[in-house]
């Protein structure tokens, strides 16, 4: 494997390979090629520097102050949640009460009744025709003489 090919492989190699560990083609090449090994060592050094920088960074606030502030903030949020929740509950109760009072103020609707059959009494010489209109409150009753009058 040539050095340019190794350079390309260095870009994705595992850190252990960069250190020349193991029997991969990259590791074997690095053990035998000082120039590529120098490049790999540079990459390892830069990544270690980055790791060290990340490990040494820490928040400026002390742990005790951070804990105190976190506990106080959490309490405030709990209280705020409680206030919001109780407000919502009160609003829900008020809406329910209004709904209930509205229902009781309305006149009771009449119970549905079955359609009553009309009963028409006529004299013996009369015929009768009863016509039920589409309006259940209107019934047309036609009385006429039996003998064609």
């Amino acid at each position: 494997m040539t050095c340019p090919e190794i350079h390309d492989q260095l870009l994705e190699a595992a850190p252990s390979e960069l250190r020349g560990e193991g029997e991969s083609a990259v590791a074997q090449h690095l053990r035998s090629c000082p120039r590529c090994r120098q490049l790999a060592e540079r990459i390892v050094a830069e990544e270690s520097r980055l790791h060290g920088a990340l490990a040494t960074l820490e928040p400026r606030q002390s742990v005790d102050d951070a804990v105190r502030a976190a506990v106080a903030q959490a309490r405030r949020r709990r209280r705020r949640r409680w206030v919001v929740a109780s407000g919502l509950a009160a609003a829900a109760v008020a809406v329910f009460a209004l709904w209930q009072s509205g229902r009781s103020a309305l006149p009771p609707s009449p119970p549905p009744t079955a359609m009553a059959q009309p009963f028409v009494q006529t004299s013996a010489d009369q015929n009768v025709i009863v016509y039920q209109t589409a309006n259940p409150d209107i019934i047309v009753v036609w009385l006429y003489q039996r003998n064609g009058s």
Binding site: T2, A14, L50, A53, L57, R78
Partner: protein
């Protein structure tokens, strides 16, 4: 693996006590976890100052939700998700504030003031010149997270997958892309190493 497992083992009794209202146990829990949370926050936000605020927000959320934590989930995985969500929320708020600021400036400022505002953003970018900030600028968030967990903190890809909620293949893809981007930048900074002559 051992670092995370050791941490989970050591904080388990603290969690139980803190769940029962023991403030001292909560403080010890914070003491044990805060360095890790801060590091995750730095990697997630790309900014050590932002990370401090995110870390504090994580502590608040930890206090608020610790009683809902059940030990059948790994504590560090649960904590990592809280951290990631806090960082994401902060980023969204920052973006919306920035949009509002820009729209206000565009409405109220003369063109030279807008140019000055852009220059001040450049100053902010110039401040981000430390090792960590430079590294953060080179990689997208997901790649930073995977590279930090696997290559720098030496978690296994399976652990990283568990923490990030990704499958192993996605972790490997992010890792390879992150290594390639980061190392290309490193090589650019050291042209004397250049391309090999071939052998």
């Amino acid at each position: 693996m051992s670092a995370l497992r050791d941490l989970n083992d050591s904080v388990a009794p603290l969690i139980v006590r803190a769940q029962h209202g023991d403030t001292a146990a909560f403080a010890d829990l914070v003491r044990a976890c805060r360095p890790l949370v801060y590091r995750w926050s730095v990697v997630a936000t790309g900014d050590p100052d932002e990370a401090e605020d995110v870390t504090q927000e994580v502590l608040v959320r930890l206090h608020l939700s610790l009683d809902r934590y059940r030990t059948d989930a790994t504590f560090t995985t649960w904590l990592y998700r809280i951290t990631r969500n806090a960082a994401t929320d902060r980023f969204r708020r920052y973006q919306s504030r920035l949009r509002l600021l820009r729209s206000n400036e565009a409405l109220t400022q003369a063109p030279d003031r807008v140019a000055a505002a852009r220059a001040s953003e450049g100053v902010l970018a110039a401040e981000a010149s430390g090792i960590v900030r430079r590294f953060m600028a080179w990689l997208p968030r997901r790649q930073r997270e995977v590279l930090d967990l696997v290559d720098l903190q030496e978690f296994t890809p399976a652990e990283a997958a568990d923490l990030l909620g990704l499958d192993g293949g996605t972790i490997r893809a992010h890792l390879h892309r992150a290594r390639r981007s980061l190392r290309s930048k490193i090589i650019e900074r050291y042209p004397e190493y250049g391309k090999g002559e071939g052998e």
